[in-house]
Symmetry: C2
Subunit: 328 residues, 2 copies
Amino acid sequence: MKKLINAPEKVLDESLDGFAAAHANLITLGAEHKFVRRKTLKPGKVALVSGGGAGHEPLHAGFVGAGMLDAACPGQIFTSPTPDQIAGAIKEVDSGAGSLVIVKNYEGDVMNFEMAAELADGHVMTVVVDDDVAVEKSTYSTGRRGVAGTLVVEKIVGAAAEEGRTLEALHALAQTVNSRTRSMGVALSSCTVPAAGTPTFKLADDEMEMGVGIHGEPGRRRVKLQSADAIAAELVESIIEDLKPGRGSDCLLFVNGFGGTPLIELYLMVNSAKRILSSHGISVTRFLTGNYVTSLEMAGCSITVTELDNELMKLWDAPVRTAALNWG
Amino acid sequence: MKKLINAPEKVLDESLDGFAAAHANLITLGAEHKFVRRKTLKPGKVALVSGGGAGHEPLHAGFVGAGMLDAACPGQIFTSPTPDQIAGAIKEVDSGAGSLVIVKNYEGDVMNFEMAAELADGHVMTVVVDDDVAVEKSTYSTGRRGVAGTLVVEKIVGAAAEEGRTLEALHALAQTVNSRTRSMGVALSSCTVPAAGTPTFKLADDEMEMGVGIHGEPGRRRVKLQSADAIAAELVESIIEDLKPGRGSDCLLFVNGFGGTPLIELYLMVNSAKRILSSHGISVTRFLTGNYVTSLEMAGCSITVTELDNELMKLWDAPVRTAALNWG
C-alpha cells in the first residue's frame, strides 16, 4: 500500500485537521472530529445535514458552507458515522427551523442516520438518495445505491434552504431532485482502504468493472476495457433508459472522477457523453466535471444526469461557498 | 494502459472539446484547438498568456478567465506547444497593452515561448518560473524546473493585471512572486503517456521518487516509502532551506496532488506541512489544496510555499473566475 499517511487509524483525524486549517473561514470541526459544520449558521434556516464514510472526499465535508450543507459527519473510511455522532451534528446546527438529513442509500448509513434522527429529538426529516441505475440492489444496499447524485441533491436543496423554505418543502424538493437524477459508474482500477492494506478487489490489466459502486463493490459485470465512447454510451444509455427524459429536455451532466482518473480524461468523457445525450434530443445546459464523489484513488468515473426545469436550474446556479464548490 | 480514451492521438482534442463545452461561459477555443482564450477580453489590460504540454490539467486552460490568464496554449501530452501556436494566442488576446508570457522552466517550453514572443511582433515580455528546489538542473531543464508555483505566479499576476498595471510592472511582480515561491514533489507511482502506452518510469512497491518532476522525470533520489510526516518534513525543510523565509513570515501553503492521490491524503499533508512550517516560526495564512498541477494519474504530491506580504496576499485573495479556481 502506497499512501501519504502516517498510520491507518490516524488518517481521518489528521486529514480533517488539515481540512479545518485550510478552510477555517468556512467551517469548524466538532469535538473529537465528530462533524464539520458551517462556521456561521443562518438563524431560521432549515439545517441540512449529511455524511457517511470517509474516502469519498470532497463529499461531504467539502460541501459544507453557505448554499449547501450545514454539517457533515464523516465516518472512518467507507464506514458509516455513528448515530450519536450524527445526532450531535443535527443538534449543533438546528437553529429552530428543523433539519433535513440527506443520506446515500447504503444500509449502514440509512440505519444510523434514521436512528440519529430519532435521537436528535427535534423536527427532523430524512431523504434517501438512490440514483445509481447500475444494480437493483447491491452488497451494501437494499434497493439502488446512492452515489454521485447526492451532490446534486445537496446543492439544489441547499440553495432552496438558503431562500428560507420550510422543512416540508425542502423534503419534497429533495425527493424531486432524487427522482430526476440518475448515475452509473465504471472502475478501471480498485482502491485500497488503509486499514485493510490491500486492494478491495482485483481487475486484470485489460478489465473494467461496469456499474461499480463507490466503495468498489461489484456492478453489473466485469468486461474487457473499451473505448471512452463505448463506455460513455453504456453509462448514458443506461441512465436514459431509466430516467426517460423527454426529447428536448434540459439536463445537468456531471462527470465525476473516482479519484485516480485525471481531468484530461474526465473532460474527454464530457465530450462523449454530451454527444450521446444530444443524439437523444437532450440538451446539456449545465456541467460539472471533476473528482467530487470519489473512492479513494480508484480509477474510473461516473456519469450523473439530472433533468432540469427552470426552478432546478436557478437553484443549481445559485451562489455556493464551500471548500469544493464555489460559484455565483 | 487503462484510460478513458478513444485513441492516443485524439485525447487532447477531444478533451479540449469537452472542456470548451463545459465552460462555454468562460472560455472559447481557438481554431484547430490551438489555444483556449477568455470569452470576453478586457480592453486596455495587459494580456497574460501561458501554456505547455497537456497532461497537467487543470493547468493551464483551467486558469483562463477573469483574474488570471487571457490565453493558454496546450501542446500534446508533455510536449511543448509550437511557436506559431503560441504567437497566434498572443496576437489573439493582445488588446494593445502588451502581453506577459508565463513559462515553466523546461527547455522546450522556454525555446518555443521565446520564439513565439518574437513572432508575435508586439510588446511582449516573458517570465520564466523555476520554483522547484529538488534539483539544480534536470533532464529537460537548464536550471531549476518550473512546477506548481506557476499557478501562484499566474494567480497573483493575473489579479494585478486586472487592476490595470503596466506590462513592465507585471513583469517585475512576476519575478518577485517567482523569487518568493519554492516547490518540491514526491511520486509514489509513475504515469503513462497515452502515446507511449507504458509507464514513464518504474517504482518498486515500497519505493518513492523524492523530488520528482511533473513529467515523472527523476528527482533527488529513489528511496523507501516513508510516513507522510517524514515526507512532508523533507519537502518543507528543502523549501525553507532555499527560500530562507524569516521567522514570523506569512506564507501560502499549496499542497498539490499529481492526479492519482486522493484529497483525504492531500489534506493530511496540509496538516503535516503546516505543523512543520509553524515549528520554523512561519504562519500559514493562505491555503490551496487539490490536484491543480498534475502529471496525468501519477500518485504523489508537491508542496509549494510562497512567502507573502500584504500586497501579495491581497492579490491572492482578489476575485478569480476560471474553470479550476473561482473565488472572491
